[in-house]
Symmetry: C2
Subunit: 120 residues, 2 copies
C-alpha cells in the first residue's frame, strides 16, 4: 500500500474531484493523483485556477500549522480546494469542480488523513 492508493481512492469516491495530493508545508507535493477527465477543457481550466490557489498556499499552510486548525477550504469560481492537516509536516489537498460533492470531500479527507499519517 502506498499514498498513491489512498489518493486514487479519494478521487474515485468524490464526485467532481480533479486532483488530490500529499504535500509538505514547503509546498512540494510528495505524491499527486490527477483524475483522467472526459471534459478536458473544463478540467484544464480548473487545474489552472487550482495552481493559482496553490501559489497562495503559504498563507493557508501557516494557518494549518498554527493553533488547532485542522481543515481549510479555499474556494474560487472555478475550483474548490480542501486542505486537511495530516502531520505537523504534511497535509492532504483535494481540488474539486465547484459543483463537486463538497460534503463528501470533507468526509473522505477526514477518514483518509489517519491512513496517510500511518504511512508517513
Amino acid at each position: 500500500l502506498s499514498f498513491q492508493t489512498h489518493l486514487e481512492s479519494v478521487v474515485a469516491q468524490v464526485d467532481g474531484a480533479l486532483v488530490c495530493s500529499v504535500m509538505g508545508f514547503d509546498g512540494i507535493a510528495v505524491q499527486t493523483h490527477q483524475v483522467q477527465g472526459t471534459d478536458e477543457l473544463e478540467l484544464s481550466t480548473a487545474l489552472i485556477e487550482f495552481t493559482n490557489v496553490l501559489s497562495q498556499l503559504k498563507n493557508a499552510a501557516e494557518l494549518l500549522k498554527t493553533g488547532g486548525v485542522q481543515e481549510i477550504s479555499i474556494n474560487t469560481e472555478r475550483v474548490t480546494t480542501l486542505m486537511r492537516l495530516v502531520t505537523p509536516e504534511y497535509f492532504i489537498v483535494l481540488a474539486l469542480k465547484p459543483e463537486g460533492n463538497y460534503g463528501k470531500g470533507r468526509y473522505v479527507l477526514r477518514v483518509t488523513a489517519p491512513k496517510i499519517r500511518a504511512e508517513l
Copy 2:
C-alpha cells in the same frame, strides 16, 4: 435596513450559527450579531475558539484579498468558520458549531454578500 438586519437573518437561517460579523481587512468588526444560545457553556467554548481563529485572520484575509478567492473556511474541532468576500475592503464571517448546517451557511453567505455590498 442595516447590516444588523442581514446578520440577524443569517444567524436565524443557519442551524448551529454562533456569530456573524461584517469585518474590515484590518480585522476590526463593523457590526456583529451573536446568537443568544440556550447551552451557554457550549456557546462560550466555541466562541473562545472562534476568537483564536480570528487571531489568525490576517493570513486568511491575505488569501481573500489576492487572486480570485471568494470564500475561505477554517475549521477546528470546536468551531467552523466561513468567510466570504463582500468588497475589496470588507468581508462577512460566520461561525458555526461543528454540527451546524455548513452547506446552508455557505449558501446564505453567498446570497447575503451582495445585499451587504449594496449598503456599504
